[in-house]
Subunit: 425 residues, 2 copies
């Protein structure tokens, strides 16, 4: 579809894509695991058989990359070669190995009158997945959605459109060869931004939207979507050093949480220290952070022990720096730390360092985040680190899915009720 | 607060209510089951001790009832007496007996590096509950929310405002006597419609909104809410009579699904019959429905066997009559029946009558509804009938909660991760 398609044509196109996905979703819900796995295995092989076509398509994207203003790091993420394609194929095989959540009987019971009730795990239905320029995400997202019994509408970034189309062509062809319905995996064939708006209004055809990318994209999607959205805006993660903390352990955990990788959502952005240990702890921690050239932005009480710290301004408490900065505050109690985190945090990942079991228990109860760490780095909040298998995103919402989202988070349940002519009296 | 309060005053009031609920929610999440149950037991006793005050408040509501245009049935639902108050108290005791979902370890495991991960059930946080004029719902909703560890903001109908306030006064007083935070149970003290709009914009303070009432109210809430909503719009429930059905059983199930109580969301509104058995089945079924004076609106094929049926118009297939009418169509196959249901239904409750195991399995897989019944009346989709205990509503959404919603559906989970100084390398 050309960029200049009229609004009516575009809307009709989006409608037909979504209707086809909805139709496919009913059939996908009935597929057994073996069929879905055969498709994944065949797709892994077919991707490698199509290496020439896929790399040629990728070349077209690379030729437009500078025109789209991509920087070197983005161009590198966009680039495919035989070894990266083998990695994409391998990721499909790893999804074969994951247990199929569909059909799990979550609970079941027989009522006094003999009615048999099973709460059974079923797919959500249709997933609208919006992502940016990495072509490997195309195959990954399709595999996760279909393995969990869902139809998927993929909306990739314009920078990778030819690569993504070549990959989806392969996945679609193997789909039809292995008994999957034709609307199971579709790539939106226009880069018109308006198309996203059309899809976001189709809550009768799409069950969930998952945006992955910058905060601007995610906020737009959350505002416009009429269906549920699985998302996270940001990750302002905290480490709290308790009065009973091992201070060497605290310094190591803060160093790792802040510095191991700075541009990610589970990196530490803010440090809270109990006033009883502030004098002893803060110089040790500041020394560690200085070896990584971290800028420390501290409140007045913390600056007594970190003389070179920059005075923190109110905006620092809510900031996600994604770089070499950290905010530091001294708090009067564990409850005050939890209250600060619940007020300024992102409900993403927050950690306590303590030797007190009582403190650990209270902190994990009070802090309202997807993951609460005790004596461990915030960097562990990740589907891979948790051993949950492939993930399609991470959620800082509390509704439906929280934290890393994989196959199971793309499911819902229905009650299947069996009687023998039972009527209600 | 008076009806004429300025928008700024109203907004400030709503903000303070929501902030107080949010603050309370963190403390409620740490309460043990025994404390919550003691509050429920004490509230049941205190309601009966306050019978004079509550009945006097109810009398004030009854005096305004005709002014609000309530009909006799609505006035009867509004009326309290000592025996009905005893019923409200008894309902609180029944919630004591329900298992507390909070703290359940949904799954837990130790990672190869020794990190211990527990996926633990926690409250959603703050529930905004909007309902109409029945005062018993006030106590019920408060009890369900608090037992599941949530703070609740109750917005009752103006018709029952004095009764609801008297009940909430009792619940709040026992709450403070039993160690519950002061914002745990709050009733919005204004009947200004604008207040609802203010609350619906507070997604940073309220975790879920549950509207219970007419479709207009629910659509308004779904459109305006910035936080998730647990809702159902309507219930266009189907019974499908398969080629392999026992036709006597089919007639009995349809009669019960349609006629046992007509004004409810799990009543049958539409009947589909496989063409192989239409000639034999439809006269039997029509005879049964005629004994209840049900108006039959049938498609052309069905009218061949029900000569007095009214021709169905396209609107009939999506209609929720809530009264003595039913739409009837003949279908060519089970798949066509499922397809019709998925297109026109409400994702609420749909049933098949069949003796074929294969047909039962395919129907339950294809039909995308909160409950799919095999050889049982649609009227069984109900928290009480399922034995799930007290319910706060029913959901026809697929996200988070589906079907009857009780204590567990008002919860989420968090990952609690324990290490011994673990860092990521």
């Amino acid at each position: 579809m050309s960029e200049s398609a009229s609004t009516e044509t575009l809307q009709a196109y989006c409608q037909s894509v979504a209707e086809s996905a909805r139709e496919a979703s009913y059939q996908l819900a009935t597929l057994d695991t073996a069929t879905k796995n055969r498709w994944l295995e065949a797709s892994a092989l077919a991707l490698m058989d199509s290496v020439d076509v896929i790399l040629a398509s990728n070349q077209r994207d690379l030729e437009s990359a500078t025109e789209y203003g991509l920087n070197d790091a983005s161009i590198d993420r966009l680039r495919l070669d035989e070894s990266r394609l083998a990695g994409i194929a391998q990721a499909l095989r790893e999804i074969v190995a994951l247990p199929d959540p569909i059909g799990e009987v979550i609970t079941g019971f027989t009522r006094p009158g003999g009615l048999r009730i099973q709460k059974t795990r079923v797919p959500l239905g249709v997933v609208f997945f919006i992502y940016e320029s990495r072509p490997n995400v195309t195959a990954d997202a399709a595999a996760i959605c279909v393995k969990s019994g869902n139809a998927v509408i993929l909306r990739g970034g314009k920078e990778a459109i030819h690569s993504s189309q070549a990959i989806v062509d392969v996945l679609s062809q193997t789909a039809s060869q292995h008994g999957l319905p034709s609307g199971a995996v579709q790539l939106v064939n226009t880069t018109d931004r308006e198309a996203v708006g059309h899809f976001l209004r189709m809550d009768h055809l799409i069950d969930v939207t998952i945006p992955r990318g910058g905060e601007g994209l995610i906020r737009r999607v959350a505002n416009e979507a009429t269906m549920p959205v699985i998302k996270h805006f940001d990750g302002n993660c905290h480490v709290y050093v308790d009065a009973d903390a091992d201070l060497e352990m605290a310094a190591t955990i803060i160093e790792n949480s802040k510095c191991q990788r700075m541009g990610v959502c589970n990196a530490c952005e803010s440090l809270l220290v109990h006033h009883d240990v502030a004098e002893q702890a803060l110089p040790i921690i500041a020394d560690r952070l200085r070896t990584h050239q971290i800028e420390i932005r501290a409140d007045e009480r913390a600056r007594k022990y970190i003389h070179d710290a920059i005075p923190a301004v109110p905006e620092d408490w809510g900031a996600e720096y994604l770089g070499p900065k950290i905010s530091v505050a001294v708090v009067d109690s564990l409850d005050a730390a939890a209250s600060h985190i619940n007020r300024f945090g992102s409900r993403h990942t927050d950690a306590i360092v303590t030797d007190s079991l009582q403190a650990a228990n209270r902190f994990t109860q009070l802090v309202d985040s997807s993951a609460v760490m005790v004596n461990a780095s915030t960097r562990f909040n990740d589907g891979g680190m948790f051993g949950l298998g492939a993930e399609i995103g991470i959620s800082t919402d509390k509704f439906h899915a929280r934290g890393p989202c994989g196959l199971r988070e793309l499911t819902t349940y229905k009650y299947i009720v069996n009687g023998d002519g039972h009527i209600r009296t």
